[in-house]
Point group: D4
Chain length 255, copies 8
């Protein structure tokens, strides 16, 4: 809906090659398919550089399957398709309708993009944070990015992180996944100069308040420029990392 296509369309009308009615229809012909219960956004990848994911909760297994199939039928047939937070019934229905998806935890990926450059580190504070981290890694993989990982480096045992400082070098983005008090985000944020996306997790109990504590702590980080996504939102962190890679890519190498 940018100026150029508007201009081209209006030029067509002025030139008589497009009738006003056709122009109006064209303007209204938006890039999505209406399934009744959902509007599939075929052009999101073009607009945002990320395939539209299907967020499963609240959808019936049939709706999940239907949306996945529609997405796989998109005109630009190479787009990756991701189903997130799906329970077993939804996964089964989706795989039955659209075989070939790769399941990682509650995430399913069809037609992962070919590998592309870009170095993302996914660091976790504890073993229990792995499930949010895996969602992040799976979504990155679906979009062609192979993440580097650093597991169980929570700052109560600081030497574990200090022994891994090499892993922090040469990366484009760091995703830090931590529950409880979420201190790892601050420590990593103080050690690297690249974007740090903090993912609070609901790991912990009582005063951890199901992730709210880690969330607030990360938002209050004394490491300048750390940004935060929602609790357990590995998907969002992956998308945030992909946005950084897209900026790197579009700015690209000067000739």
């Amino acid at each position: 809906m940018d100026d150029r296509s508007l201009t081209r369309l209006l030029d067509g009308v002025a030139a008589g090659t497009v009738t006003p009615d056709d122009a109006l229809r064209e303007l209204r012909r938006l890039p999505f398919a209406d399934l009744g219960y959902a509007r599939i956004d075929h052009h999101r990848r073009i607009r945002q550089g990320i395939a539209e994911a299907v967020y499963a909760p609240g959808k019936t297994a049939e709706q999940c399957a239907g949306i996945v199939v529609e997405l796989l039928d998109s005109p630009d047939g190479a787009t990756p398709v991701v189903l997130t937070r799906a329970h077993d019934t939804q996964i089964a229905a989706a795989l039955a309708a659209a075989p070939g998806g790769r399941v990682v935890g509650s995430t399913v990926v069809w037609r992962a993009a070919p590998t592309r450059p870009g170095s993302v580190l996914v660091a976790t504070a504890g073993t229990a944070d792995l499930s949010a981290a895996q969602e992040c890694i799976a979504v990155l993989a679906a979009n062609g990015v192979a993440a580097r990982t650093l597991t169980d480096v929570g700052v109560a045992g600081l030497h574990r992180l200090l022994a891994s400082l090499d892993a922090l070098e040469g990366i484009d983005v760091a995703v830090v996944v931590a529950g409880m008090e979420g201190a790892l985000a601050t420590v990593v944020g103080g050690l690297v100069e690249v974007p740090v996306v903090a993912v609070p997790t609901s790991v912990g109990y009582g005063a951890a308040l199901e992730g709210v504590t880690a969330l607030l702590a990360m938002l209050s980080s004394c490491a300048a420029g750390v940004t935060v996504v929602g609790i357990d939102n590995g998907f969002g962190a992956a998308c945030a990392a992909l946005r950084v890679l897209q900026t790197v890519h579009r700015t690209g190498p000067p000739s």
Copy 2:
């Protein structure tokens, strides 16, 4: 009101050296002075090893002064007296009524106890945490403990703490004062084996929620055995540290 004194009293009654009425009066003669607006607890130091402090907020300047004077008049005339969270008018009234107090921020100390052994480290994450730390240090000093300090070692600049690891050695207790995300408590908790008392401060804004974020984060610390006091409660942290020293003292050297 322990068994021994009860027994002694009853023995006296049985022996006829104490009349029942006197015994009853004795049982009722509790170790405090009633000023009408306050009951001064002269024996708290004996019971808890810490002088009763006067918490100024909500008290008139006259009440502050009156309680301080009463405490200084206590039979065991060497007990330190501490006035906390006092504003200028309260401090002026108290000093007018009881000259000789030493003012540190909003704390005033009269008759500080002579120095005694015990090594307490007070570490702060940032310069803005100094006022809670100073309250802690002043209360420790009032009770005869000279604190060691480590200032501005927040974990976003980890090397500042790593350069000071010596300061963590040989201590009996560590008090960690930090606002924002409060991560310093976890890092220190992972480095020492002695008690760590975490003091969340109201430093920070927005999502720091006036100290609630640091409080929750410290309570959720993944460093095992870190304990927490209330927001900005330097006084409480000092008392907690003194309790540890009292345990050390009373267990003392085996013969």
Copy 3:
């Protein structure tokens, strides 16, 4: 990573007995084992005086078992190993892989340390607080400390506590476990001079807010120097008590 070992290492390099490469490797050889999904911290007991516990939630039964086995294989073969908050499947898997653990509620202990001196009182307000108290007692036992207990002494029936004042004498630390309004911590804090570690529990309903009320009340205690751990965190309270005992131990008897 303290100065002395650095100096020794550098002396070795200067003396030619250690090559620079070996020194670097040594500096990097950190005391943990990497299982892929977890980094086992074999030296934590040396650093913190407490065996690393395995926090079960969020880990698969296999991961629990794997970490326990790795810990039991540690070079210093006498270290106690503790699995906490484990559900039945996790416990079964861990015991199958590592027979001989003693199960107390959701806690399993392997190779408990020999009994050592130190007197910890664990007091509970009500029968319903027993499960958090038991976690605390089991972790203390694993580390060689036999706790004294005082059960169901909530302050609504004050005479129950007053009848047990003897139990408060001669202790090194008091752990107070209470839900609902958590008032027991304040009353105990006013009666003893040693450290009081308050454990809010999720006992109660409605306005008890799953332990948040007790937590806030304990943090706001008018008994000076009471410190608090997270909701239901019997493990943390045990570690806090152990930290006090370690200070007592290291300060030890003067010659």
Copy 4:
């Protein structure tokens, strides 16, 4: 608007002594005076046994004065009038318009009721809780009840309360005023069999959450049957106590 007056009115209509129009007018003639900005409820004392108080916040000084004057002009000229939470300007305006009020803190009382039987104890945990207690005492006094007081008996110094157990005997209601963790309400509730009205105060800082902690703690009290009013609501507690006295009075002595 009870049945009896309805019946009397309808009987009058049936007897022809009251015209339907008069009856309708009577039904509509409700016992209040409309000042434009306020509807004065002259009959509330009859309905609830408590004079209508004027809550000052949000009202102009003129509105405060006007409402007080209107209330003093009420047909039943002996009703006490109370202005609460008034700042200096409001008090000055009200006293200028209606001289003779007695000022206690932010409360002003005109035409206090003659003393009547009824024994209410107002106990406070600390000196800083006095201002809420004074509001309660002033409102009780306005309604003819002379409260007994017990000051500064917070449970961190339990012996202060134990020394005053006599004060708990023979009372009709206990009002317990406490901030911080509010534990005094539970302890008193466990010692007396009469109604306990707990008033949480905003005394304390940080985790005291401006009285929310005391409020939640009192609501979660393990002493059965303790009831709670809003934070700092000394006025409400006085009214609750008066309601109890009214029940005592109306049930009265059997002949």
Copy 5:
């Protein structure tokens, strides 16, 4: 532990009829039975006028049964015994060990007290509030008070309440049970002069916040002197009502 018994005891010691050791033993012989996991408070009824209830959550079925049996074995064999919030297994175990209990919802009553005077109205806003109301009614009945009820009179259909104004007359206490916005407490509080105990319930969803909204609303009631107990706390409301009746009873008829 009052003065009179102390005096009597000390007189005995002085007279030689009681040895000091016996006196000490007597002072320590407190009126409860220690079951190991619970301390049964046989004298609470004497102290508070209400039988000790057994709060089932967090207790094993065996513990529930054991405590009930102990209470039924109390010396003063006519005391009612109440088990609250018990699930089916706990109820079954308790009834097996102590046959004859009457089950109402999750409450079981053994040996209900004989009916005594006292008029308590229990009003509910909606049918869904009945379960909290029934707990209240059962506890009142256990203590010999037959409650009057007024069901489903929520203020969105004001005429339902207006049609029942008679029910508000002649009562000693009103218990108002309401969820959602809890407005019924205010309306009833404005219509009666006797104590109003408001019970917020967890009825409602979303912004009702599981009863917190009704709780806050009742605490903020513009009807002066309404008091509040915890969410869904029908038991507490019954005890609060009983406390009022006890005041009425003890003040009793003047001769």
Copy 6:
């Protein structure tokens, strides 16, 4: 209970055609049926223009069935009856007792009103918001209003909404159903001049706080005049829309 009927009644008494006793009885004969556990409000439809719905949670299946039957037996036999938030057992019981209800999700409708004019748009942000939307649509249908729908037009894909601007034209009310950050309400509110009723849903996780985030966001909408109902409250939104239609209807066409 309006003036006219009061007047008519009193006129009858004055005329001797109604006895005072009959008048009183009439005044007391309020338009509901008392089932013991519920008071059925047969006249609510007259008073509010909306049939009384039966809110199922907290009611037994028998109570649900009983109330539905009573409502269907109402004198004005054409009133629609709605059962909301019912689970399967409740639905089965109600349909067994009152066959012919139409089930939509957790809502059952008996005797839907004939279609009447009025154009309501129900727009949803995502597929997962459909269940709240369906409750709204079913309640509208029960009251004779056929809603227009616009599905899956969340503002992260703005062109989906822009392509549907036609749907916003010519409506009387817009109901906007959205979870997560609820931004759709603001965007729609900025595009139409008619009432916008925003329904926050519990769709989302973590920081979505089960609908609280969407609720707060909608209440803070920068689109002037957007109003909000409770979380997931499709029923309330339908009633709000019906209230608007009733105003349109009663103002109606001038002759």
Copy 7:
């Protein structure tokens, strides 16, 4: 940006009467003026039927004045202009730049619309709620609607409301303004069939939580179809009422 204008534009291009460049410029020429610090929305009144108000907080006095002047300079010179929540300096600056505004509390209105039909009732629970109500009334007046008012009819004195039932008849919308527990909204919602817009106010203290309690209570109202705006948002309530009147107007009288 509706279809009709798009079509007309495209027809012009097709007909050669509009060049593509002009069409593009036209499409981009949106109806606002860019002041640098603000974008004035001259067409909002056409789009939403309500003049754009200037929300003063956070704006400098100069910015307030500048925006008001720009709005008064709008092409359709009869549009009313409203400045809300302005403090004295902002009001002075605005009146200096644009004389003739009428000040009501913190609201200033220039060029109020001529009176138009529509009956809005603004009811307040207490005198302290008047300031939010006045904002609502002033904004209604600015848009040509003269509100009917009903003051100080809080439900703790139910007869005040019952005496005013006439005021509830014949209205198009009711705005209910109440703080504390906000019960008035439910009672009014149960008495009228037209839209009820509830405005929670920050009146009250402590548990009133600065309006959050009234907000939650109104959202949880058991009166079906009550809708809510933000705390103290008299402006929003006025706009919501105006939206209803616009629906009435546009549906209008059938011929």
Copy 8:
């Protein structure tokens, strides 16, 4: 402290050109200056690419001035220095000690870096959001980045944003500053493929909860990959944007 410098140091020791003592001293000579009240981190810019800012709140004017002077004295004399959130006294003291700073609101910048490539868009929803935006812009400018701005494009007037779609093209990062419901972040996030850093502001009142609502809404955004910083944290957003530019820079052009 990276491997290379360690190796070089150790090589020196091995070669005899560095003594062990010197090596130890070197290892301990960390790149900061200790002012007593603060540790100045001279190397942060090297480590994070961003000059260390001085956060003024909680610091005395003298401390602010002292730290600024120390930073300006840093060895690498071209580093920009930023003082944030300073009040007038702090600014005056800092400028007196270090003339030449440029003041923007509460931010002061000394020695701004020379302009460097990188395109950052800072978009605000309303005029009242400008102060947070200005902090962001000033910090970007200090680091050599000239931000593009888009002001007052809140989504309640969607056409204002749609008219500015050009501004969203060709950018490297978007910073979206919005209060109230914060919906602008979602809409922008749906329109661009580059990183979106959302800054919730405390603009709004009542249910806006001083920025918490916008914060939660942005964290729950349905636009994938939007990240969030703390409330009003323009500084943090600037640093987050700089981190992205640093990644672009370091990845740079392949040769």
